[in-house]
Amino acid sequence: MNYYTLGLFSGIIVALIVLLITIFRQKDRAKQEFDERQKLMRGKASAAGMWTAMGGCAVVGLASVFDVSFCPIGIAMFLVIEVTVMVFVLVAIHYDAYFGFKANIKRQYTGLALFFVLMVMNVYTSAQSNGFFSDGKMTVAWLHLTAVVMYAVLFAALFIHKRANREEKCEE
């Protein structure tokens, strides 16, 4: 078994464990995590994400039709998914619908920070092994780099929004 297969299997196992924990925790959690306005705003955020995904797929499709290729189609599609998730998160943060109103924000921040560090490590290792370009095309390192940028934008948005909320509370 080579390192690639080992990495792939460990990744799948970790993903399955995270999925199972998430499912069990959701069952245990109080029945209402988001209030009615937040649910509505999350719907808005999902719609924005859906339009972004459709736009991204159209761009990838057109690029493929006209034989314009900056990267393998698999990487392009994952980039679209990352941008879609970022749009959803940003719109949800804008409307205060990203964290549930009963959520332990401190723990959520710690989790996000942990993922950010893991992503930075991913960028480093994939850039070391594959580089950022191979045969003039973008490699998988760009996916990790996009994820790091996404997390940085997310943290910035959370910080700005938290400040705005604090000012709003003072005006109250």
Binding site: Q32, D35, E36, R37, Q38, D96, F101, N165, E168, K169, E172
Partner: protein, 64 residues
Amino acid sequence: MKNLMLKSARAAKDMSQQALADAVGVSRQTINSIEKGDYNPSIKLCIAICKALDKTLDELFWEQ
């Protein structure tokens, strides 16, 4: 349109937005959005707010 009736009823009870939000089980931002007139709450939430502030629906949500 701003809901000043809700804001003044809350202030009369000496409650912060957070205290009212906790009492009715929503986020502070939701109460703020209702007061600013950015969000129309469901009848269920309106009733919960009225009960928390000891007011009737007319007193808080009926525009004069």
